[in-house]
Each structure stands twice: as C-alpha cells, then as structure tokens.
Symmetry: C2
Subunit: 213 residues, 2 copies
Amino acid sequence: MLASASPARLSVLRAAGVEPTVSVSEVDEDAVLAGLAASGPVSHSAAVVALACAKANDVASRSVERGELRGEHVLIGCDSMLSVGGELVGKPHTVSVARARWRAMAGTSGRLLTGHCVLRVADGAVVAEASGTSSTVVRFGSPTDAELEAYLASREPLSVAGAFTLDGLGGWFIDGIDGDPSSVIGISLPLTRRLLAEVGIDVAALWAAGGRV
Amino acid sequence: MLASASPARLSVLRAAGVEPTVSVSEVDEDAVLAGLAASGPVSHSAAVVALACAKANDVASRSVERGELRGEHVLIGCDSMLSVGGELVGKPHTVSVARARWRAMAGTSGRLLTGHCVLRVADGAVVAEASGTSSTVVRFGSPTDAELEAYLASREPLSVAGAFTLDGLGGWFIDGIDGDPSSVIGISLPLTRRLLAEVGIDVAALWAAGGRV
C-alpha cells in the first residue's frame, strides 16, 4: 500500500512491477514539523523521514481501524523536498513563483531529499518498521526565455516540489543528477529495496504476489 | 523523426512532450565500426557517435527517396553501449549470459555511452547536422540470488545493452547514476536539446508543433 497521492510515485512503482493500493494520509505536515522542532534543531533529512513515517503510520492506523489490513501487507510513505542554496523549497503553485525559481536556479544545482518509511503489517498490527532518506544532487540546465515560458505555460512545474520534473517536460532542462533517478521522481527503488529487506521482504516476493501490495 | 526501433527511446520522448514518427535504419553496424577502425584506433565515444550518425543519415536518405521529408523536419539517431571493466558489453540475449554479467557487475559501476546525431532537413535535403555523446556512470546494486533469478525470469534484461534497465524492473537494482537518467534509458534529453539548438531549433518550437516531429 502506498501512503501517497503522488501519481509520479505510483508510476515509478508500476514500472518496477508493483501495483500498490493507494491510500492518502491526513497528516498535518506543519504540526509534525513543529513537533520535531520543539525538541531542538532538525536536519532536512530528519524532517523528510519524520513526515514519511507520520504519513505511513497515519494510513496504517486508519486502515487497521477500517479492518482493511488483514493478512500480510507492506505500507510505504514518502516525502520529498528540494534544498537549493541552503533553503528548502516546496511547490511553487503560481507561474510567477515558478519563473522566479527557475531564473534563480538555472545553471546551478540543488539537493533532492526523499524520506521513506516502510511498515510491515501482519493481521492488523505493525510488526516491523524501517526508514531512511535518499539524497540526490540535481544539476539544472539553462532554458532559453522561450523554453522557460513554454514550460511554465504547460503548468507542469507548478504543482511539484522545486518547480521541476525529471520524468516529464522538465527532463529537457535537467543536465544531470548524482544519485538515484527514482528518488528524484519521488520514491527511491534501491532505498525502498533495502528498507524492505530490513523488514524481511525481498523484491522477488513482491513480484511473485502478482505485484499487488 | 526518430531513427530507432527502441521503445524506451520513444517513451522518453513522448513523456517529454514530443511524438516522433519512427523509422528504423538498415545500417550494417559491424561495417560502420570496421570502416572506422580502418583509419586507426577508435574511442568508445567516437564509435557510438558514428553509429548514431550512420543510422540518422540512412533513415534521412531513404525517407527523402520516398518523398517523405517535404517541408521542415528534424531527425534523431542514437546508439548506446555499456562499458564495464574497460570492455564494451551489448545485449546478453540469454539468461545464462545475463546471469554471468550480473554476477560480475553487482556492486561495481559501469559507464553508459550514448551517441546522438540530430539532422535538420528542409525540403528533402539535410541542411544542418549536430552530434555528441553522453557519458553516464551507473552504479549497480547487489540483488539477492532470489531477486536476480526473478529478474532474469522476467526476461526484461535479455534484450537490453548491459543486461539492465533503469526504467523497468531493473530500477530496484541500480543504486545510482552520475549523469543524465534519460541518456541511460537511451536518449539524453539535455544533450538532444543542445544539439537541437546547434541546428537552430528550440524545444519550445517542438512543443508548439503539437509535439509531432
């Protein structure tokens, strides 16, 4: 089960042979971050893991309450943020914010952090949990004015963290990455594989289950 | 127009807003490489560019002969090879070769080279050509025996250069890359964008044409 509304995460998992049920959490992200900050300074990496685990556990407890998690299940939560120039940036929402972001980040690089949380659930109870963060450097290209305006007009960059996509129209303007490309799209397959192994599940077992998890 | 039979290249372009016509070349790749070698030692990078340009020019001349390239067109040819331990490796074709490749390359890294050739065609004549090679480091993970056997049983790695895919089931077993992920799938979007600019075309113009090229 995937605790995320992100179509990009779902398509990464589908392409990799897994067809998860999707259930969206109702976590108050600001409250989670405020709770973390109350006990001292929080690294960006710790923040995305805390959000991923809050989402996964929220979906797990709601699903258990509704009696949906009988038998064996695995539940994955993720949260992504882009750090550019030491600052965390989220979704731009508007064309003017996205234009300003691209003017500032063209030709530079940023770091995409994705927190992951994997829960193994057996007969309605969480029996194992593993979590971790992937960190990938993203090197931004320099679109021409005409290219940038056409990209903004597509509206694709408005609803994604950092105002770029790697797997869509934005791919033309990402010169390269150092790290795992699936983590930039939203869920790192190699990190998820290591976390699944920590809770005693291998990828071959997921495929053998017809990919339905 | 894309001078390649690769479904992976086609899907990279489609996701990036371009819907090319596909026309497969009839180039004798061994003859191209033998012709190159006759004039001295050839780098891997020069070999993939030569193959990409041979494919693009072959498709261009056949299409012009058939009267298919009236008006303005752009034609792209690509060729990919994986270099591991100083050796170029192609498609494994059989389960036993793919298993041996993975046993040798698990936990190590290789370099995926993709040659690109962009031709601008106007009224049946090639009016500009630009070419280049992308080079991306691929860091292989270490699948368990059960995972490797399940991956081989899927037959996905048998028909791809280097016995791995980044955009399919193999994504679980690629720990990371340093370079452009689209180049690993088979066509580098940022390099293609630079080559398009060299022949006087920008990406915004391709999208404006309804993505049909």
